[in-house]
């Protein structure tokens, strides 16, 4: 009944109004489709696409390799593909991190116009079409491509290397397209790193390696974690890079999903796969965040 009460109420009302568009968008374009997917993943696939409205848990059974009936065999191929996708995604995170972390320090030390130019260069690839950029890597990596030609004419190799259609080529492509996503959060963190912390550490007798491990790394960890999450998620679900640079040899879960939706028109199976990826990402992120929160509460030592 006091005036501060009404102010609070009014504040809450304006907050609700401000958040309304976001909430509507989130529910219409995310939660509703998610619900549909969830329902579909438990339905029987129709013979010619579409679904039969029967309870059917075997979509998930297929993925983890559970045989449908006595005639089918236990076949963990989808699980293997999923584990391979996980491996590629993790390698992509590591690859982008190794490139971006030192680069972030380098750029943050630049002055004025040079710094803006560097930041612009990092976002420059966004201006070209994704398919074109990946196709370029196809040309670079193929047996008669740039790398093999150079290595051969230098006499370092005789036969062209099998660079294309391997996990390696997929990882290269992923690292290439996802680098900016790792760079920006790390850069934001490195940029605001208080250099007097580094001086204090040196002053207290820490050598450069100790200073890095005990001060710089923990203080930039939020940026590293943020970057890792937003690289890991699209890397795990990506299907464009593996379909170009992985060919038929490297399959990722993203390819499976794409294929079951578009080619075999098995929507329930695709939905089950997609939900499984999402679940594993959510588990990983929640795990990481809770660990981080605990570490913060403790005050890492």
């Amino acid at each position: 009944m006091t005036s501060s009460d009404t102010i609070l109420k009014r504040k809450r009302r304006s907050l609700i109004l401000l958040l309304a568009p976001f909430t509507v968008m989130l529910s219409v374009f995310f939660l509703v489709p998610l619900g549909i997917m969830m329902v579909y993943s438990f339905l029987e696939p129709g013979l010619y696409g579409g679904v039969e409205w029967n309870w059917y848990p075997y979509n998930y059974g297929r993925i983890i390799g559970w045989p449908l009936n006595d005639y089918e065999e236990f076949e963990p191929i989808y699980l293997k593909i999923f584990l391979n996708s996980l491996q590629i995604a993790i390698m992509t995170v590591i690859g982008t991190f190794v490139i971006c972390y030192p680069a972030a320090f380098w750029v943050s030390r630049m002055q004025g116009a040079k710094k803006n130019l560097a930041l612009f260069m990092i976002t420059l690839p966004f201006f070209a079409n994704l398919l074109v950029r990946i196709y370029a890597w196809l040309l670079l990596l193929r047996p008669t491509g740039f790398f093999n030609t150079v290595l051969q004419s230098a006499g370092l190799i005789i036969e062209p290397l099998d660079l294309l259609f391997t996990n390696f080529s997929v990882i290269i492509g992923m690292v290439y397209i996802l680098t900016p996503f790792m760079f920006l959060p790390i850069y934001a963190n490195v940029e605001k790193l208080d250099y007097s912390m580094v001086r204090a550490s040196q002053d207290l007798g820490a050598n450069p390696l100790q200073t890095f491990r005990r001060v710089i790394l923990p203080l930039t960890a939020p940026g590293i974690i943020g970057g890792s999450v937003i690289v890991f998620i699209p890397a795990l679900g990506n299907f464009i890079v593996p379909s170009f640079l992985g060919g038929s040899k490297v399959q990722m879960t993203g390819n499976l999903i794409e294929r079951s939706f578009l080619q075999s028109r098995d929507w329930p199976f695709g939905a089950a796969l997609a939900l499984l990826i999402m679940a594993s990402v959510v588990v990983l992120v929640v795990f990481q965040l809770s660990r981080q929160a605990k570490a913060e509460a403790r005050g890492v030592s």
């Binding site: 007097s196 001086r199 207290l204 820490a206 923990p218 890492v300």
Partner: protein, 367 residues
Amino acid sequence: MSFLKIASAHKAYKTPEGGLIHALDDVSLDVRNNEFLTLLGPSGCGKTTLLKCIAGFEDIDSGEISFEEQSLKGVPAHRRPFNTVFQSYALFPHLSIANNVGYGLDVTGVAKGERNKRVEEALELVGLAGFGSREPKQLSGGQQQRVALARSLVLKPRVLLLDEPLSALDRKMRENMQIELKNLQHSVGITFVFVTHDQEEALAMSDRIAVVANGKVQQLAAPTEIYDEPANEFVANFVGTSNIFSGKVVAKDGALLTIETANQRQVLATSDRFGRGDHVELVLRPEHLKLAPSGNGIPESCIDGTVEASVFVGSDLHLHVDVGKGRTAIVHHRHNRGDDGERIEAGTSVKLYYSPNAAHLIKAIGR
């Protein structure tokens, strides 16, 4: 054996426009073992730069810094037996107070038991026992400052460098910390090199003060000497308030000099460093100028003036007295407010006098 010695150190910074700033311009300084030395100077005079050069965060362009006769050239910061208390404290936000204090012990590999014992002792020394598990952001400014102090002291450095450590505190807190710091320095027996731009702080705490301006040491002496016998006009003006009159010695009788000032007035001073014909600056502290009693008993050497303004500052009355030719003298008059005759308002004519012994003479520059 000399302790910490800085010999003709030069350090210039490049400005973005391509010019040079001489942050240190031929600085020589001998820091003695166990002393509390203060670097006092205005903003931008090079105090922090000198501290950084001693700590090893910056290299000097020429000259030498040596410790116990060993040159420190090329010795990185983490190998120097000095520690710094930074102006911003620079506590590690990701570490607890105990781990902040223990940091230096951890990186040098001190055994766990010994480490914990020393951390506890250090926290106790600065009056923060029991705060070990808190985080830096949960402490007040003054407490953070003590943590920074404990973090350095726990390593038992030979020299502790303190860069304006009290400037972020309020006045009361600062005065308490001044006394505590001074006592601490006394009890731990570590050399302190303390930077400040606050002259009262410098006078209150130091064994010796180095007054720095424009990248040069203007005077290095004990606080009383700095105050009573400033080496030049800059020191006289920067440390305390001074009334400075230029003039020429016209007569000498033993140590008693008669000086004729610009407005043809004759004043007295004692000094054995100057003789007839020397051009000098006469420095008079405001508390040495007294109001001559009216009526009889007027001292023979006195200056007439008119009060321009009278400012009440508590125990004293600060008078701005026009002494002719546009010159204003500042007088700190200890007043007795119970007495009716003590009302001194603007426009009152007064006579000022001082004891010739209280006047300090410095050589006039450029003559």
